[in-house]
Subunit: 230 residues, 2 copies
């Protein structure tokens, strides 16, 4: 089926979460990178658990909660100013270097693009704007509208409703293997950007395609839509 | 509200998952402990993601899938015999030393006890039996009956239906902070056995009580039910 719009995950896909490590290392020398890794793990875990428990809080809150846990687990006590500095880093993430050229190529072909993310609308507007990617996207879709995080079907359904397309006419691009798997299970086409050479997630589905960089995406997409005809 | 029955989580609460490390270290010297830690993390992650994605597979399958991922991530290639040995270790987990005496005290008081676990009925029967705890429990309740893993409400609802009690009349005992939180959000009373001094999970709810050993449970429960009257 021909792909009519492309959805991008934000954190870890367009935006490099590990870029927070610089701020964290400055505040907590020798522990910043570990802090950010644990923080990210807990942020995702809380997003899943709250969705399962029907106990939604928005991603800013979940992110603050996860920082609070991660710092406590490492015996760190960031003061309010340090917490604020770490939190605001989510709005100033560095884009991956392959993001801007890959998006530019797709835009030049007239492909409609959107972000589909767990982030709140405010977090997404700030981070995508700060990364200089704001004018690439027709929409920044936040799961906050349905109060359920990925991989809940309602999160992916947002994109189906926004574009008025069949799930199989939409492509979700994510570097998060679990997101690519969840979107595949939902029925979207999926492109997994596996920058780190990670094993594929074993959850009973396989992404439609994968690559090692966002630059692999336009190449694959052209072949795919050419093969699909008209 | 007086507690009328007590539910125990199995893996990590009654049974020591880290006891698999011995088998794993024998098969993969120097990497076994890391393998088991990653295996357990992925097992839980897959249970959450499959429930969110409505893509259930039973816990034996999820456990095998998680092993497959964890081994690949560490560059290990267990052959089928080694895989089998690692899998069967889930049915031969060592009980924590505090489990048997704590259960015996509660049984001697006439408190109805059950297991409420993600494990399949076959996995639970084997592991609880092997640990010598089989005669303590009125029932081994497996979420397999509802094809949704904790912390989905349906998983905890199983216990409500089994005992025909109000959620607040049941106590869930778990060493897994996320399980204690999920059961609390559902409406059960909860006792978190925090053996490792971990921070409490920041997901918007707090367990009813906590202790550092299962031996703290009978003490707390006696006070609680005494205070609650008759």
């Amino acid at each position: 089926m021909k792909i009519r719009a492309v959805l991008f995950d934000a954190y870890g896909t367009l935006l490099d979460v590990s870029s927070i490590g610089e701020t964290a290392e400055r505040l907590f020398p020798g522990q910043g990178v570990t802090l950010v890794r644990l923080w990210r793990d807990k942020q995702l875990q809380y997003s899943w658990l709250r969705t399962l428990s029907r106990n939604y809080a928005d991603f800013w809150q979940v992110t603050a909660d996860a920082l609070d846990y991660a710092a406590a687990a490492l015996g760190l006590s960031p003061d309010p100013a340090e917490q604020g500095e770490l939190m605001v880093a989510w709005e100033r993430l560095a884009p991956f270097p392959d993001a801007s050229p890959a998006l530019a190529t797709l835009v030049s072909r007239g492909m409609p693009l959107a972000v589909l993310s767990n982030g709140t609308p405010a977090m997404l507007a700030a981070a995508i704007g700060h990364a200089g990617l704001g004018d690439r996207f027709a929409a920044l879709l936040s799961v906050d509208a349905v109060a359920q995080y990925k991989t809940a079907p309602a999160a992916y359904q947002l994109a189906v409703e926004h574009f008025g397309a069949a799930p199989g006419e939409l492509l979700l691009v994510s570097s998060n293997g679990w997101d690519a798997a969840g979107a595949t299970a939902f029925g979207l086409q999926t492109f997994w950007v596996n920058r780190s050479g990670a094993p594929v997630e074993r959850v009973g589905v396989t992404p439609t395609a994968s690559g090692t960089s966002l630059l692999d995406l336009p190449v694959w997409l052209e072949a795919r839509n050419g093969a699909a005809g008209g």
